[in-house]
Point group: C2
Chain length 372, copies 2
């Protein structure tokens, strides 16, 4: 193979793009440096889950989410498995319900099943949201229902608030615990026009992440009643998540939380504006059509190979990276995820429009030439 | 309670001591800052276990330990449970053997049992090391034997190298996997006069820590064959330990590894010197009598309450903190752990001698006055 002739991949081109439509910028060491340079050297580390630096942040997030207590975790994977285990133990059943594209089902190497022997009941079709009627039609006794807001893998869709209220009431009546996968909870508040506490009040336990819309380095919080979070700390120790020091994640989580939690409306408006432009392009739709958070999927009616070439060329010609990760949907369609963050506002409107006009042209070209 | 009259606790006095006999200094944010300030802002984060920053460090440690491959973990708790689970799955039995004061038995809230239903067989008495004869007398089929070098909870004792060789040969003959809890492996190399690779060659899998003698922020490495570490990565994902970014721990682990792995001989010599001085004090012994690593226990033949007052006064008068954490052993005896690091060399010899002369006097005083 002649290395000189190897074309750069989409992800390489994207990484060196002048502008990127999604995200907050490069995930590099500078992200940590910016967060810690404002902290005094002499502030003590947290020690195995105790100490001012972790406790004050836990209290702050518990208050923000309107719950009694919060526990900082290195990851959401760990936090959510533990939440479901606690509810299963409390209710004496090994069954929970969640969406077929739930993070626990597709991204965790079956940790829930392998570590806890908990059996999930999959609710709703892959391409649909869980509805109140799905919940009412549940035939099995479950300890807990997990709802993800927004449902990331289908473009970040959301049930209407009233439907959430009905699901919550129903679960309380039936003695089913309701857990919120709020990896992107902050991002949906502008659509619901609710506070985080108002949404969380519908749930018994909530997980939030600090590296999606917030853009921290890693880290998650699990919130709920005092009894629930006390139990979760024991499991955190069992998992090896009760590190002697979590402060690199705590400091960066709090720094970027303070910086960005108030910018979710801006990201949401950006997502709606950009999605509308994509929807004017030939053979391109967004899912959802009108975003309900900072995220959406761009669905291309052409094969992944063809669209990849289009996006590489587009990036080279305009300096705008749409995505670095295009995924096959069917043989003749593909999609990418866009999450609007700080980067989008840096792209001049005219440049974005020029890029999308070019994209529209290129999609017409590959649409009319048939398969390569 | 009149707060003005509350005496500071031993740990408070210790934290503000001018000199501390053990450790590398305060665990504060400065530890992270020192490590990352020398790294370029533009270096990319690791992403879910991949990327140059994690891969090069894994390769470096695998090579140092003489094994095929290594996987960086957020914690040793996670790494070791996973190691034992892999060996149990491979050998088709749910039993392992380890010391009664093994970390997995006493510090992990029974994670091994609760998450894996693995049953440990406890080898040796609490106060003794596991011997070759203990291993030979094992009545049960086990998948794996875990040996901790040094055995921390009994003062950091070590079997002789030849005994390790016999245990290793026996395990290989019997098809028992041998796992090394090497949380303090680097610290025992001067005593054995062996390389890390020579010690690790006796074991099928090895865990090392970066925040004990190395003094990093947190983090661990699990090393072994390629098949073993590949399997461990799947479990790391299941545990929620496969964080999007582990670089704060990776960078600091490597920085302090480079800084201190060559200083273990100095720490070991310091430990021997200091232990000898303690052993000249009235009613004080060290365990072991002559340290075999940078650590040892100081055993006081007086009640915890009395010794605490002695150490508080000693610290106030001499500026030297012996420990911040004195533990009851029996009603009339107590002990503390000393791990020599960078701090010890900062204490002028005469000051250390003065402090220990004073300690000797005070121990005589409380020894002769009977119980308060």
């Amino acid at each position: 193979m002649d290395e000189l002739n190897v074309e750069p991949s989409l992800s390489e081109v994207f990484n060196f793009a002048k502008y990127r439509v999604g995200g907050h910028g490069s995930r590099n060491i500078g992200v940590l440096k910016s967060a810690i340079e404002q902290v005094d050297d002499h502030i003590d580390s947290d020690i195995y889950g105790t100490g001012g630096i972790i406790e004050q942040f836990q209290e702050k997030i518990a208050k923000f989410l309107g719950k009694e207590t919060a526990v900082f975790f290195p990851s959401g994977t760990m936090a959510q498995q533990i939440a479901l285990r606690i509810w299963c133990d409390e209710l004496g059943t090994q069954k929970v319900a969640y969406h077929p594209l739930c993070h626990l089902e597709i991204h965790e190497q079956d940790g829930l099943k392998k570590l806890h022997h908990i059996e999930p009941v999959l609710l709703a079709d892959k391409d649909s949201l869980i509805t109140w009627s799905d919940v009412q039609n549940l035939q099995e006794d479950i300890a807990c229902l997990l709802i993800e807001l927004p449902q990331r893998e289908i473009g970040g869709q959301l049930p209407e608030y009233n439907e959430l209220v009905e699901i919550s009431r129903y679960c309380r009546k039936k003695g089913i615990k309701l857990h919120l996968d709020g990896a992107r909870l902050f991002e949906v508040l502008p659509y619901y026009k609710k506070t985080a506490a108002e949404i969380c009040a519908l749930f018994d336990s909530v997980y939030v992440s600090f590296y999606k819309g917030i853009g921290g380095i890693a880290g998650a919080m699990l919130v709920g009643s005092e009894a629930f979070t006390a139990e979760s700390k024991i499991w955190k120790r069992r998992y090896g998540g009760d590190l002697i020091s979590l402060y690199p994640y705590i400091i960066s989580s709090e720094y970027y939380f303070n910086l960005r939690v108030g910018k979710m409306e801006e990201y949401y408006e950006g997502a709606k504006k950009l999605a509308e432009k994509f929807n004017h392009c030939y053979s391109i739709d967004t899912r959802p059509m009108i975003p309900v958070s900072n995220m959406f999927h761009v669905m291309f009616k052409a094969s992944r190979e063809k669209v990849e070439q289009v996006l590489i060329q587009l990036c080279k010609e305009t300096g705008i990276g749409i995505t670095g990760n295009l995924r096959e949907y069917t043989d003749t369609t593909c999609y990418c995820e866009i999450s609007i963050g700080d980067q989008f506002a840096l792209i001049p409107d005219e440049m974005m429009d020029t890029a999308l006009t070019l994209l529209d042209d290129r999609m017409r070209e590959i649409g009319s030439t048939g398969e390569k």
